[in-house]
Symmetry: C2
Subunit: 376 residues, 2 copies
């Protein structure tokens, strides 16, 4: 299905931009176009990260300008403030994601913006309000977005914009994984690998709030002691490197902590096996990523005698299952937690014009970097 | 915990048999022993397959004689009629099973017998009744068993004894796996590997009764066409060899059959991967065996994007979860199906005295063989 951008199909718009002599037509801001004999309410022109085909993101993406579009009576025109570059955004551009917009498409999936203007029938939103697309949707890497009012969820503007821009994909994944697979109560333990990831950091903090202990696995690295300290400051009960867990009697390392009933895996391969080894009898491991690009390997006896269950989690599928209302309630809950200072994670705001620098960092070409968030 | 045999601990009994000059004391049948000044109701002497230590079953098992034991007021003395040699019996003797009787122990876990005599307080059972230990319990490979009345479940004696002897471990596993993991209704499909196994054959027939299609995977072998014919006669909708499923477009092989929502794996390795590939989006694979002695390998995307769930099933654990009553009701249901001629599987009755021959076949030393059932 063709992705619609600000009221018209991207293909139609994009066609207009490239046909003829191929030059990019830049329309003046706030231009009002008279068409079919009446004055329409028009958006400002927009600037967006577009890719014409799936492929290496640093090769297939470029920033182009879009002309103003009409703001219909139920539409809201949002001036985007910030939007992150998540691994799933990169995967969509690479074409390795099973659900992806038809190309040409605009990048990005979540973000926050400020209402710029509204259609004549819109009552609940006013210029200046902060909104996020909720459930998130394609095409947040652009300066102005016009979409139907139901797309937008109004939020408080008392938290830093980079948190509002990033609250959906990673913190919500962490919250849902903690809630949807096992009935956890205070005193339980969970175990996770990839604990330094943004979801990993959220899991630690959201577990802590509920009195749930977290046992965390990180890669072996030179600065592992600093990483351990950082995660413990967030609330991690234990942090082990994969090497430390090579011990035969892995359970002895848990000390007084109860054996975890739930595990999260975003790495795969041997690191997933460590999660499985640490789980208690009857526990569940949820896979939500595969950073090591290696499959999960499970012994027969883990299934039969240890009664482990293995599941997967994909936020986009959860979203598509009629969870829009529930999603917004959980987002509000997360925003409250952020406002209270109980949910923090490292980010770096990068001016939109420096998109290629941010992308380079997000692609991992400059070593370990904080989450890159575009500032429009 | 010490396994109790006919009222006294096996260790105590067995000690009596081997101390002194080490000869085996054989007591005359129907002997009545006077002890502590009163005449007790005694069992006949018994002959049992015993193993002194875990190890290769053909090396550690031997048949020995046990003296009569007292039949207390709530006890029932059962003359065993038949008991199978299941793979799990072999695994228990080998010591590779996580729950196993303390050695020395008597082999076997299920079987059928005829009530020989009852204690003074037993009203519900009479000599001649057919009974099975339900839930099953250790030590069915012996000619006479004395256990408390609650152990025994009275069944109809209108079906062949070899079916009564084998109804619990394999058919019940098949029935529970079809019922406990997904809500299947008429028109659904399931997929399984190891389809020629006894559980596999039961799955085909029990699915058929409920209008559920079965897609079956067998090893590549010379006589694969005959095997396919045999399974189709039982009710299999499709039977593929592993080699045939190497095709790229595996789903095309299903023709008009719906993609299976549930899969059963008793093999592991590549054969388990075929089950996973055939499952539909959101499907579940249940592992209940690992004949290939290879782990199950699962891609990250199978969990995240295909939303597969992987579980395990172990009858012994299910039994231990307070399911005694439910178990007996299901056994009765299965016995009715057997009586109606709708559940069949290949078996070979072997005289108890030829235990070593039956064991050799059960160990797979003579190629593919029907289920070996000891006849006492």
């Amino acid at each position: 299905m063709m992705e619609r951008v600000r009221g018209v199909t991207l293909r139609a718009l994009y066609g207009r931009l490239t046909i003829g002599n191929g030059c990019r037509r830049v329309f003046p801001r706030y231009q009002t176009v008279s068409s079919r004999g009446f004055n329409a309410n028009m958006s400002p022109p927009s600037k967006a990260v577009v890719y014409d085909q799936q492929g290496p993101p640093d090769q297939v993406t470029r920033i182009i300008n879009f002309p103003p579009v009409e703001i219909k009576e139920n539409d809201v025109c949002v001036k985007m403030l910030a939007a992150p570059i998540n691994p799933s955004d990169i995967n969509r551009i690479q074409g390795v994601y099973p659900v992806r917009p038809t190309v040409p498409a605009i990048g990005g999936y979540e973000g926050v913006g400020e209402v710029h203007s509204v259609g004549s029938a819109v009552r609940d939103l006013s210029p200046g309000d902060w909104v996020i697309p909720s459930p998130p949707s394609f095409g947040t890497w652009q300066t102005y977005i016009v979409k139907e009012k139901s797309v937008w969820h109004k939020i408080n503007n008392v938290i830093p914009m980079e948190y509002a821009a990033t609250v959906t994909v990673n913190p919500l994944t962490a919250l849902l994984m903690l809630e949807d697979f096992e009935k956890l109560t205070s005193g339980h333990s969970i175990v996770q690998n990839g604990a330094t990831s943004m979801v990993g950091q959220c899991v630690i903090q959201l577990a802590k709030i509920q009195g749930i202990h977290s046992i965390n696995i990180i890669r072996d690295r030179v600065e592992s002691e600093e990483v351990k300290e950082r995660l413990k400051k967030l609330g991690a009960d234990e942090v082990f490197t994969e090497g430390e867990l090579g011990a035969k009697n892995i359970k002895a390392l848990l000390g007084a902590l109860p054996e975890p009933v739930l595990g999260f895996n975003c790495v795969g391969g041997d690191s997933a096996s460590l999660v499985l080894r640490l789980l208690r009898q009857g526990g569940t491991m949820v896979t939500y990523g595969g950073m090591a690009r290696k499959p999960v390997t499970v012994s027969t006896s883990s299934f039969i005698f240890k009664d482990l269950a293995l599941r997967g989690f994909w936020l986009q599928k959860w979203m598509s299952a009629g969870k829009a209302k529930e999603c917004r309630a959980m987002i509000d809950q997360l925003l409250d937690i952020i406002q209270e200072g109980k949910l923090k994670y490292e980010m770096q705001l990068v001016p939109f014009d420096e998109f290629s620098v941010a992308l380079d960092k997000a692609l991992g070409n400059q070593g370990s970097q904080p989450k890159q968030v575009l500032k429009f």
